[in-house]
């Protein structure tokens, strides 16, 4: 498969929102978003978060699988890294690769905290990215899926400390606070 080169840029949550407003989903448009964690490396294994070198290593790894792409985002405690371009399909969940964006959160949330410390910072960045993408693409946050919901495989990703209902609620709350509700998916229906 021809490799879709990665974007390799990192953004704060605010910068990411601005970046996404410059994108156009003409050739491919996702129907929902799948949330992952990296598990290994964990937060403890990346004390300074992800670096450009780490992202380059990840690109080499994903490319080495003979895939055309990887996940769309890697989110750490300070930045949102755009990996596979958000405007094309990626590779992350076998049931949903053709129809969903994939967001990887740095950390092992089977063991590491997702409600405090660096885990909370990752969570906040992920919620920010999810709110941006749901708003711009007109996606209902209720449609967000966790990788472990993929029926083709059985695994922990993104870890038991990631509770879907809490994440969905936070995304909805952030969308309302940013847009006063005028970007909620229900407004795009019909």
């Amino acid at each position: 498969m021809a490799w879709k080169p990665i974007v390799g840029q990192s953004f704060t949550s605010t910068e990411f929102d601005q970046y996404c407003h410059t994108l156009k989903w003409d050739a491919w448009r996702p129907s929902f978003i799948v949330l992952h964690n990296t598990a290994s490396p964990s937060l403890a294994q990346r004390p300074q978060g992800l670096t450009r070198e780490h992202i380059a290593n990840l690109e080499a790894y994903y490319r080495g699988q003979s895939w055309s792409g990887g996940p769309h985002l890697f989110v750490d405690d300070s930045k949102i890294w755009v990996f596979t371009p958000l405007t094309v399909s990626g590779t992350h969940s076998p049931s949903w690769n053709k129809i969903a964006l994939g967001i990887e959160m740095l950390g092992n949330y089977e063991a590491e905290e997702f409600a405090s410390g660096r885990g909370l910072q990752v969570r906040n960045n992920a919620v920010g990215a999810l709110a941006t993408l749901c708003a711009i693409l007109g996606l209902d946050p209720q449609g967000i899926k966790l990788h472990r919901e993929d029926p083709l495989t059985t695994h922990l990703c993104p870890g038991k400390n990631v509770r879907k209902l809490e994440v969905v609620q936070e995304v909805q709350d952030l969308m309302i606070s940013r847009h006063g509700g005028d970007h909620l998916a229900s407004d795009h229906a019909g």
């Binding site: 598990a39 290994s40 490396p41 990840l58 080499a60 076998p94 083709l152 495989t153 922990l156």
Partner: protein, 167 residues
């Protein structure tokens, strides 16, 4: 379930340097018609070799566990035909060409009317799971073969958790 099948525990050890051959992950023994070779997924050893240490990933394989749910397999005149029937009824092949690259099937029959079939799927388009295997235990009753039990395991790209699942 044939005696001994459930005792197979597959590798979950951490990788350090060149991988040591382990059950389910090593290159096939020269005697392909053997129980040792039956469920070997050679791609797993290659995945270990080509996974850079810099990624922090430690590819490993989960243990065999019973497949949840009912199996509608019926019976067949041979273990090979029965295995194909299970594959069809379970829709295991439906993801070929879409979410998985390849599928290998093998059947080993012993002299006591017991057979074991395996379905080894590799190249899952999943960032955590590289492959999934199914193991079907079969028994001859008169002129027909029936399913005794089905197990599955996963080959994990990042490693296996303490609870035995892909991370």
């Amino acid at each position: 379930m044939a005696a001994g099948l459930l005792a197979c525990a597959c590798s979950s050890e951490q990788r350090a340097g060149p991988p040591a051959p382990t059950a389910g992950e090593a290159s096939p023994p020269s005697d392909a018609w053997s129980r040792e070779a039956l469920d070997v997924q050679p791609e797993m050893a290659l995945l270990k070799r080509r996974t850079p240490v810099t990624t922090g990933y430690t590819p490993a394989t989960t243990a065999w566990t019973p497949l949840p749910g009912e199996i509608e397999a019926g019976q067949a005149p041979s273990p090979g035909a029965l295995l194909m029937g299970v594959i069809t009824s379970q829709h295991w092949s439906d993801i070929l060409g879409d979410a998985v690259w390849e599928q290998t099937t093998r059947v080993l029959v012993d002299d006591s009317g017991v057979a074991t079939g395996v379905v080894l799927q590799w190249g899952l388009m999943d960032d955590a799971v590289a492959g999934r295997d199914f193991r079907v235990s079969m028994r001859r009753t008169g002129d027909t073969w029936k399913v005794d039990g089905v197990e599955r395991r996963f080959h994990c790209r990042r490693g296996v958790s303490a609870s035995g699942q892909c991370q």
